[in-house]
Symmetry: C2
Subunit: 254 residues, 2 copies
């Protein structure tokens, strides 16, 4: 007896363009992701088997698997051997990214502004030299910024960068994020080591952020590396906890 088990991908109008330079598996992954995002593939529904899907699209099974796997890695799908592939119905789907505060705020529609307080060269002390991988006493960029949202101070950002990577134009620092500057200088960001904590505001910090002395502050220290393992940035940030918190989603790795 033929099961009337509808394959939800059948009615999606999926198609791939073999003339496009975009890889086939990527085209498929994008279309599936869009379908999930807009609800055309409802959470919890089975996806219909890979073989059929491959046949329907005129693709090979490995290609289809590669597309599906990329969505599994993103946490959108779950595969079960012997059962099928299922749309996970998670509330939020924002993964933890290597993103800058600026981008985060902009995405949240907060219209962030930056005030560059300091943009200069300083000799690296021992600790800074160690994390950035330069010699002690070598010049490094030092940037201090105040990030505002809706005209209110939100965070105080101190960053150090090795010289020679990019030219830190104060004007551009005020209109965009540091990560975006790094990327547009041809640097491939690879990983970052972060530490998030809290402490009481020292007098100078308190004044900068318009908080009372001793108020709790959220702190983040970070070192960012490019794909060669070279440290490209180190930062020490303090946030007003009433205006900012770190929100993100974790995925269980396999």
């Amino acid at each position: 007896m033929p099961k009337p088990q509808a394959d939800p991908t059948a009615s999606l109008g999926l198609r791939v363009d073999r003339g496009s330079p975009v890889p086939l598996y990527f085209q498929l992954a994008q279309q599936l992701e869009a379908a999930i995002e807009e609800g055309a593939l409802s959470p919890g529904s089975l996806l219909g088997n890979e073989i059929e899907l491959a046949a329907r699209l005129g693709l090979s099974r490995p290609t289809v698997r590669q597309a599906i796997q990329s969505l599994v890695d993103k946490g959108l799908l779950v595969r079960r051997r012997g059962v099928g592939t299922q749309v996970v119905h998670s509330q939020v789907r924002r993964p933890l990214e290597l993103s800058s505060l600026y981008d985060d705020l902009e995405a949240a529609g907060q219209r962030p502004t930056s005030l560059v307080l300091v943009n200069t060269l300083v000799p690296a002390d021992a600790e800074l030299a160690a994390v950035l991988g330069v010699a002690e006493g070598d010049d490094v960029h030092r940037v201090e910024r105040l990030r505002l949202a809706h005209g209110e101070p939100l965070a105080y950002l101190v960053n150090h960068l090795p010289t020679g990577l990019l030219d830190l134009d104060t004007g551009r620092l005020e209109t965009t994020g540091l990560y975006r500057l790094l990327r547009s200088a041809g640097i491939t960001l690879h990983s970052a080591r972060q530490s998030i904590g809290a402490r009481a505001a020292a007098p100078a910090e308190a004044e900068r952020l318009d908080e009372p002395e001793g108020a709790p502050l959220l702190t983040m220290e970070r070192v960012t590396y490019d794909d060669t393992g070279r440290a490209v940035e180190s930062g020490a940030h303090t946030y007003r906890p009433s205006r900012y918190s770190f929100d993100f989603q974790l995925l269980a790795r396999s």
Copy 2:
């Protein structure tokens, strides 16, 4: 002229056991990872091309690629078309995991202890019912714990769980972490939504954690989902920032 360009994987004594039920790509990935970890493959060195490696091990290229890709996903390797595969030389390699505070402390050799203050059933209020996906007024587990390290209070943990998933034995809660209990109950943890912030300690909180009133506290709120998208746990934790911070490594997703 033959290039005397030594393939560092040649001298590693790599071998796979076809009789083992462990997938071949996984065996290879483990051996490569071990070699990187112990320094046999030095940071920055090229890995030698996939074709040769496959031939040497008697594997097909897709299998070797799968092994390498898994290490790329972990951030240990970087591939460059036309160049080769390179060991990234990063300082730390701990990824951000879906791990419990208990496991983290244990891994750090801190010998954590737990004090279960409350372990009972309470009716879910509107907010809790919404995040856990139960009806308002339904009974849910409520667990309050104090986590100690070296006899000093470290964190105060409040968790809520739907009923019917597992039996929360107070004794086991004191000797292990909540995540481990969930996993051993056959629940596959899939993702978690986290929010990390800070605030001043209220009088009751301050006393529990042995901090002065108004002291800064690090806070974390979390909802954990299993692979069907069902919420299996929700927690509100407060940490003493002098004793704990969130340390982790982020990877740029492709």
